[in-house]
């Protein structure tokens, strides 16, 4: 059986105009030769920093953008040549508040999109109830969408994407802006769909979400895939590391450079949190550099310190940092 998604040498550039008076044109290469395959029934994660080209790739696969070069096939059908046939087989859900008719009820929104997807009118109401139940929106479907919370809108989006039982579902940051409980329920819904045989391509910025859900992951940075594999395989790339995480308050370039210079340290990343920063130091497994790190941070207020095993997030960050520095 052919793969659910086959992407081969995909390239997409955008041309943008700048300036109101003197117009300048420039070209952004959003996707630069991406190739991957997703098997039927697989849950495939596309991870990458902002602007990496995830949404662009998804929009090409969902027939909303034409590729500049390369090919993409969904269910064996070419997204450029067999657009119509691809559209009947896929569902597309993106995160955020938009894309709904606010003055209609949730039910009417679903009825509307069911028409667009030519869902059989017999059994439509039953199908609507089924998807409403699945996303946990049952009972509120009669209310107007303008009164929905962010999480309810997102559930409605997912329900909309499922109405016509798509073979392949594209989820572009579905859990953005959704609270922790709702996000967990959403993950359960996605897992359930995959159990039923739906192929899912998911993008997310939440690593634990990707770790928990995805069968395989591709990490994309600056328009190119920099790593691909199961979550375990990606973690293996940093398995020889030990991670020291230090909470610091107001660290400067100089201290970071000093930490980087410690022997055995392979990478140093500073993450900004609300009040503090997290200094994440990767070092060789056989060494414990905590003491040297603390010494190097002389003069900076230091909070908690922990040494731990690398997570998918560590693997991801080291991959992306390497790609962006290179």
């Amino acid at each position: 059986m052919e793969p659910a998604i086959e992407v081969d040498g995909l390239v997409r550039s955008y041309s943008a105009t700048h300036g109101m008076v003197r117009r300048r044109r420039s070209t952004v290469e959003a996707v630069r030769g991406v190739s991957f395959q997703v098997a039927r029934g697989e849950l495939f994660g596309l991870l990458g920093p902002n602007g990496a080209g995830k949404t662009t790739t998804i929009k090409i696969l969902t027939t909303l953008l034409l590729p500049t070069a390369g090919t993409a096939r969904v269910c064996g059908l070419d997204v450029v040549a067999d657009t119509r046939a691809v559209r009947t087989r896929i569902g597309y859900v993106f995160g955020g508040d938009r894309g709904l008719y606010d003055r209609l009820s949730g039910l009417d929104n679903l009825r509307y999109f069911a028409e667009l997807y030519a869902v059989d009118p017999r059994g439509l109401r039953a199908r609507i109830d089924e998807v409403l139940d699945l996303v946990g929106l049952g009972g509120r479907e009669g209310d107007r969408v303008e009164g929905y919370s962010r999480g309810m809108r997102q559930r409605l989006h997912v329900a909309r994407g499922l109405l016509h039982r798509p073979e392949v579902l594209f989820l572009d940051e579905p859990s953005i802006g959704v609270d922790a409980v709702a996000a967990r329920e959403l993950r359960a819904v996605v897992a359930h769909l995959v159990e039923d045989g739906t192929t899912v391509l998911l993008t997310t910025h939440y690593m634990f979400e990707a770790d928990q859900l995805c069968d395989r992951i591709a990490v994309i940075a600056r328009g190119s895939i920099v790593a691909e594999g199961t979550p375990a395989q990606l973690k293996d790339q940093v398995a020889d590391d030990r991670v020291v995480e230090v909470q610091v308050f107001g660290i400067g370039e100089a201290e970071v450079a000093r930490v980087r210079a410690i022997t055995g340290v392979t990478s140093v990343i500073v993450e900004d949190h609300e009040q503090a920063q997290a200094l994440i130091v990767h070092c060789e497994r056989s060494l414990d550099v905590s003491a040297e790190v603390v010494a190097a941070l002389d003069g900076v207020r230091v909070g908690s310190i922990a040494t731990r095993e690398p997570t998918l997030e560590d693997a991801y960050i080291s991959l992306v940092t390497a790609a962006e520095d290179g």
Partner: protein, 254 residues
Amino acid sequence: MPRRLVRIWLLQVKQMSRSSFEMMGAVLLPLLFATLAFYVLRAGTHPHALLGASIGAGLMGTWSTVLFGAGSAIDHQRWQGTLELIVAAPTPLIVVLLSLTLATTTVGIYSLVATMTWGAILFGVPLDLVHPAAFLVAIPATIVALATLGLLMASTFIVLRNANALANTGEFPIWLLSGVLVPVALLPTWVQPVSSLLAPTWGVRALREAALGGSPWRAIGACVLCAAVQLALAAVALRRVERRARDRATLALT
């Protein structure tokens, strides 16, 4: 497909009818137009002149709704974030956008009916239509005529250039030509052949002749014929619009 068209149309009317802004326009504007029609034409006391004025004024309301509604239908969906979802669905874009412009026009035609009703209630403008049956047929024919023209213009202007502000100024003369605003007979003779190619010209004529006397059925026939041509042209233009939008990434706001 027709069933789908009608259901999408009705849901769109529902969405529009819940906009307090649009509804205020739909209730207040006809009242204003009816008042204007009555005072401007009070001098000519012939009752049929009043009915004619009432229809003309009502069509002005229709015209303004359709001009702003149909012309910006595509932009509005884009702004709402629903354009991508409409395009990503297997139903052809033309079907969805036609039902959308039909919805706008339905709200617009309502203002014709409302103006005539206000005229009758407030100023005693007679509603004695010469051919009531033809009038009832002329209403949907005019809806289709306006909607297909709106669709055609919205799509061609997108093909020609992207800025909607420009598109709207380009639309104005076309609506003028269709005799919705001013009777075609008052337009310069050299533009009249152009007018006769536009379906709304015949729709408006059918409404007038059905109300005031004439041969409305001929005008209804011409109206339906021209609307079919408008629709076919719009279908061609929209295919190009969709391809271009996928090429230039203009389906979404970002």
